[in-house]
Symmetry: C2
Subunit: 349 residues, 2 copies
DNA sequence: GAACTCTGTGGGAACGTTACCACGGCGAAA
DNA sequence: TTTCGCCGTGGTAACGTTCCCACAGAGTTC
């Protein structure tokens, strides 16, 4: 039985109890061939009796594999990143790998500290949403790594996993067209963000394909917050509006703010203004109406990143960039005003 | 100077380069006294030149301290638990401790698997929100631990950290009284939950103190979901209502649902119905009106749990139960209908 | 000047595992 | 009968630390 206070059972304790050498115990536990039925049996019994659990530290020490993976994300408290972390953790657990999770708060100094911790812990690899842009020598990480998120974009020739913004925008524009909003207004994030450019480029491509002049679209921008979305929407509502009244918002938080602004203006969503968000945050499900949005594959990104990392650790040195598809989540914020459907839109001005 | 491909620098590499023994290097790095100025200097230079990072696995192996802590929570994707994890991680980082985070999904089997992983990783201690109730022999965890959350309640004589529900309820009832709602309706969680009994007991205590008959209070119950809160609110609205129209909801998700039900009934919140939530989930900030609620100290719980754990590892064997105070977060869902104030509605966001 | 303490240093054992080599026994091939 | 190969097993050397003991030399005390 387990020593509760004393030290833990080691492989030698097991060997003694089973009356074999520790080599034999190691072979049985390692699933090696060429073990007599009897030896295996006695070892297994001894393991059960002693409550032996292999010491990962010793294993890591000897084999060079710690059985640990690290992930550095901006903030575990942010629902998107929590999804990523969850996906990564679940996938890692399948291979009996444990995950060290760190939050960088978009702070290069914290990031550096966390990376040092990962190196000291001798993790077998790391998943990183890079904030610093001075990784002048990526090899200096000192371990295999996979980048995640849109900020990975800055580093070409690096294995990375992210969401397919182009596909997401196409999905959004298509559903807008289908619902009778061929020329929605756009609410974008700050100019500094890489994702903004990608978003805009995809919209333009859609417009070219559909033969719409992109210049026709109303555009507002804000800072990815509820408050920002609220004021941006107020500005949008003050503009002369043409076409159907729909807004494609590049971020759910802003979309929620936009919804509030609509209500404050005495209008209704979706009857007067349709709103399409982008992100898939849980809070979108609790607004009224529920926010129709495009959901980023957070969990999938985590899963895939771990898989890439495991592959890379095993040997392959890929420099691939992987984009995972987004998904439309229909709730109530998008009205159907297409000709084929009963018109549910309020009279325009 | 880092070997990018080759093996990492060890303490012996540093020693050779500095022209001293590994013992001296260890002493310098360990901040030991009795080191000549010259030796220290050369060691430090050699460390910088080789890019030496101590191998935690070896350290753990030799010293019996892995520098790792584990935390098993129901779901990292749940904002409350993410806060707890974040607090724990931040606090641990201060002591150069890394955190292994696991999600159990309230599943006893997953919990057992995770605990095994923690034992194998030789974590120095664990923070656990217990789901299984057959921990017949708590010492059999094989490591120091701290319980967190209300489910820790089932295990007496165990070090645990949680939120102070009694204080939270007092806080809520007080603000309701202050705003002119001396006898609010109650929306509770499922009968099976421990937290429900604690909530109800605190309400009764408040009533006794304020000389109110608790039987007067309308009560509905549901299952801690938005949908559940919505239907429970609908049932509540159908009842004959006496006193001011306010509801104290035992969970934010339900409160959000209640808010939707109010709107669906053609009523307004807070003008017609005031709602007070409990939890402090982020989504409450994005509803309209913003949800006034009582926030559980998630981050504090994580911080405190780590501190208790560190203490316990260091030696103390406490069996304390710690309750951390909750905080009122005022947004817009609570109207002031007290005699002293004109009926006003706070703008929330 | 001998015996002592103090300072700075080096050498080796141990932590628990895995990888490798060695060896006895046995059956098959020569 | 000898030789070879295979099977099952045991012994031992690492892996990179820390901890403890030993020891040389300088300073202090008698």
């Amino acid at each position: 039985m387990n020593n509760t206070t004393g030290r833990r059972a080691t492989i030698i304790d097991v060997a003694k109890r089973a009356g074999v050498s520790k080599s034999t115990v190691a072979r049985v536990l390692g699933g090696s061939a060429n073990i007599s039925e009897e030896a295996r049996d006695r070892v297994l019994k001894a393991v059960a009796a002693t409550g032996y659990e292999p010491n990962q530290l010793a294993v890591g020490m000897r084999s060079g594999r710690s059985g640990l993976l690290g992930i550095v994300i901006p903030d575990i408290t942010n629902p998107f990143w929590a999804e990523v972390a969850r996906g990564a953790q679940d996938r890692a657990a399948k291979d009996d790998i444990s995950l060290l999770i760190f939050s960088s708060d978009w702070d290069a100094h914290k990031e550096a500290t966390h990376l040092r911790a990962l190196r000291r812990a001798r993790v077998d690899g790391a998943i990183i949403n890079p904030v610093a842009d001075n990784f002048d020598d990526l090899d200096r990480f000192g371990m295999p790594f996979v980048f995640i998120g849109s900020s990975a974009e800055r580093f070409p020739d690096t294995l990375s996993v992210g969401s397919d913004i182009a596909q997401a925008v196409r999905l959004g524009m298509d559903i807008l067209v289908e619902r009778g909003h061929p020329a929605p207004a756009l609410m974008l994030g700050p100019r500094s963000r890489l994702a903004r450019a990608r978003f805009l480029r995809a919209v333009h491509e859609h417009c070219v394909a559909r033969d719409v002049d992109p210049e026709v679209l109303l555009v507002e921008e804000s800072d990815y917050t509820v408050e920002g979305g609220r004021s941006a929407m107020a500005r949008l509502l003050a503009k002369p509006w043409r076409g159907n009244r729909a807004v494609f918002v590049a971020n759910d938080l802003m979309a929620l703010g936009a919804m509030i602004a609509v209500r404050e203006a005495g209008l209704r969503c979706p009857e007067d203004i349709s709103i399409l968000g982008f992100d898939g945050i849980p809070a979108g499900a609790f607004s009224w109406p529920g926010l129709t949005t495009i959901e980023k594959p957070g969990r999938q990104i985590g899963i895939r990143a771990v898989e890439c990392l495991i592959d890379q650790i095993a040997g392959g040195r890929q420099r691939e960039r992987i984009y995972l598809p987004c998904r439309l989540v229909e709730r109530g914020s998008l009205a159907d005003v297409s000709a084929s459907a009963p018109v549910r839109v309020a009279a325009g001005r």
